[in-house]
């Protein structure tokens, strides 16, 4: 019987079985950032340990970097302290750091793929739950806690339980105006925010076969929002084409050899999945969240659920809590709700293809009066290419603020924050209470093109009615 990619990668990286029954798994590639690594270096120092394979850890700074302030020291001394701590830890331990002056800094999940560090058949860990993004390349990529960051630094391994594998097929063709973001919001809505607990999600089917790497990353990124710690797509020619020529990838004949090896990691045709879910692409609508979990999403033309529609007591309580926080009425339309802020960016949708797609439709249009719209490239590389294509001008002419690379308004660790109960159309991945910096702030998750539509009209809109697809 064949094996899944998950099993193959797992087997190739298993070191041994630990006394409690968990597996000691080798982590081939380790990514770190400023928020979850300093304590780990501190723990190493405390125990007198050193970094075992410094060449296998790569660092960047993303969460705390201000996107409208390029010169240090930053006005926030805590942020300044964090970037310096990371800098020192990298120098002291001989770790590659994509610092702000390198031209390669950016959100960790954008930098890894962009540099060719993220490769098929590998294990990747990072102290960040959206590490699942890297699964788009056929890697098994885990978000880990800081004690495990310490473990990887000290031993290049962590203790883990093997996961089951759920294959999610999306077959058919997506309608115009429906994007990768809608696919994953639809999957989470369908399977629930904890439906993926204990599973790795393997995404496949016609839609994924046709997706670019950036679209695959958008979906894998939000696996964790569905409760799955790992999400991946089997590597194929699209994957190899993307990786060719990237800095940390093998070159020339070595690359061809690597491709052969990578190809073999793909799930075998006769492998056995623990579960299979099939979704028809034509059912997927532009999807927007109305509540406070990423599972609370609806098609743009559906109504916000009423409390009574919840099937269980706890479902009703969740709806009630969400409606209360969002100040929405059950049964009302989401379409037409006035927005205050439009945020285009994050590790879900801050890539070049996202900016390009939006710019294409935005040309000649204007952001509605009273809406604060910002666009934040996911990395300095994305920013540079976008500028060379003149995208920055299209955005600024339309009334968006063009910012420097970072996590920005995806979460509240830098100056980009919601104020009071502002309503934000956001291309990011989490709509938790307080996520965007104001405890009463409200987030609507949607695709970049839907963010653009909301920015232009000043209200939640169906992009298909605003733009010609």
């Amino acid at each position: 019987m064949g094996k899944t990619l998950f099993e193959k990668v797992w087997d190739a990286h298993s070191v041994k079985t630990l006394s409690n029954g968990q597996t000691q798994l080798l982590i081939g590639t380790h990514l770190i950032h400023e928020v979850t690594s300093p304590q780990a270096f501190g723990m190493l120092r405390e125990r007198g340990l050193s970094v075992r394979f410094p060449k296998r850890t790569f660092a960047t700074v993303d969460h705390i970097v201000p996107t409208n302030e390029a010169v240090e020291p930053y006005s926030d001394s805590l942020a300044q302290g964090m970037i310096e701590e990371l800098r020192n830890n990298c120098v002291e331990n001989d770790i590659t750091f994509f610092d702000t002056n390198t031209g390669h800094q950016g959100i960790v999940h954008i930098v890894g793929p962009e540099q060719g560090i993220t490769q098929p058949g590998t294990t990747i860990a990072c102290g960040d739950s959206h590490t699942s993004t890297h699964g788009a390349f056929g890697a098994i990529a885990f978000g880990i806690g800081t004690s495990q960051v310490r473990d990887v630094l000290a031993t290049q391994t962590i203790a883990l339980n093997e996961l089951k594998v759920r294959r999610i097929n999306v077959n058919g063709k997506l309608a115009p105006g429906v994007y990768a973001k809608d696919v994953i919001l639809h999957i989470i809505r369908t399977l629930g925010t904890n439906g993926g607990t204990g599973f790795a999600y393997e995404y496949g089917g016609e839609v994924f076969d046709g997706f670019s790497m950036e679209e695959r990353m958008t979906v894998c990124n939000m696996s964790i929002e569905g409760g799955a710690r790992v999400g991946y797509v089997n590597p194929d020619d699209i994957t190899f084409e993307y990786l060719k020529g990237r800095k940390y990838c093998p070159k020339d004949a070595d690359f061809d050899q690597a491709v052969e090896c990578w190809r073999n990691f793909a799930s075998d045709a006769d492998c056995q999945y623990d579960d299979v879910v099939t979704i028809n692409a034509s059912e997927i609508q532009p999807t927007v969240t109305w509540g406070i979990t990423p599972g609370q999403g609806i098609g743009i033309n559906e109504c916000i659920p009423t409390i009574e529609s919840g099937e269980t007591q706890s479902a009703r309580a969740s709806i009630a809590e969400a409606l209360d926080h969002m100040s929405f009425e059950g049964g009302s339309e989401l379409k037409g709700k006035k927005i205050d802020v439009a945020f285009l960016g994050s590790c879900t949708n801050g890539r070049l293809s996202d900016l390009k797609e939006v710019a294409h439709y935005l040309k000649g249009k204007k952001v509605a009066e009273g809406v604060k719209a910002i666009v934040v490239p996911g990395s300095q590389v994305v920013a540079k290419i976008a500028k060379s294509l003149g995208l920055d001008e299209i955005f600024t002419e339309a009334g968006f603020e063009w910012r420097g690379a970072g996590c920005s308004m995806c979460l509240a660790m830098n100056p980009d924050k919601l104020i009071g109960n502002q309503l934000c159309a956001s291309s990011s991945n989490r709509n938790f209470k307080g996520r965007q910096g104001s405890p009463t702030g409200r987030t609507l998750l949607m695709s970049p093109i839907m963010v653009a539509a909301a920015a232009i009209t000043g209200e939640v809109s169906d992009a298909r009615e605003i733009f010609e697809f």
Partner: protein
């Protein structure tokens, strides 16, 4: 078994209602601008406990009757969201050493276990009963018995669940895996030698 071994957790409990209590709620990101975990306890559930003007909200966590609680009773999918260990660290630093919930998000569960914060699963109806009991009598001691897999409170006893490996490492006191991982160093070299991308 060693001195770290955890077989039983006993203490008062506090009910934190709601499903999908995410890590941003447990510790809002703005409090993670720090390079150590010290002092995080103060900010546990900050926005749940305080209004924007800094005044206290009405919540069990602000209720004097539960001020001595060391166990949190929560809902389903507790700890979903980010992988930030800041979440269980703030729980532990605020003086809690166990969470009883309907289910846990995976990374949160692992992070908590690594720190010796015991996370056990108890069914919805039973949890509701526990919440009612502590609401009526906050001084009742809740005990989580990891050997018998029971949560006992007053004259009541409920079944609880915990992943086998986590239970074993808590009972044996080996929940911090680092020492055992370090023992595997030579085996690590063998695995590494078979992986091209690490060698080149």
């Amino acid at each position: 078994m060693n001195e770290n071994s955890i077989t039983k957790i006993e203490g008062r409990a506090v009910f934190v209602p709601g499903d999908d209590v995410d890590t941003d709620r447990i510790i809002p990101a703005r409090f993670m601008k720090c390079i150590t975990f010290d002092g995080l306890g103060e900010f546990l559930f900050y926005d749940v406990r305080y209004k924007e003007d800094g005044s206290k909200k009405e919540h069990n966590l602000n209720d004097e009757r539960f001020s001595e609680a060391t166990i949190i009773v929560g809902g389903n999918n507790f700890g979903c969201g980010s992988s930030r260990e800041h979440a269980p660290q703030s729980i532990q630093k605020a003086g809690f050493n166990a969470v009883i919930a309907g289910s846990f998000a995976e990374i949160f569960f692992g992070n908590s276990t690594n720190l010796g914060v015991v996370c056990v699963v108890v069914g919805d109806d039973d949890r509701k009963q526990i919440a009612d009991l502590i609401d009526k009598q906050p001084e009742l001691v809740v005990s989580i018995d990891l050997e018998a897999l029971k949560v006992n409170i007053g004259e009541y006893s409920f079944d609880c669940l915990i992943k086998q490996d986590a239970r074993k490492s808590l009972l044996e006191g080996s929940f911090d895996a680092l020492s055992e991982l370090l023992e595997g160093n030579s085996e690590v070299d063998t695995v590494v030698s078979g992986l091209h991308y690490i060698n080149d």
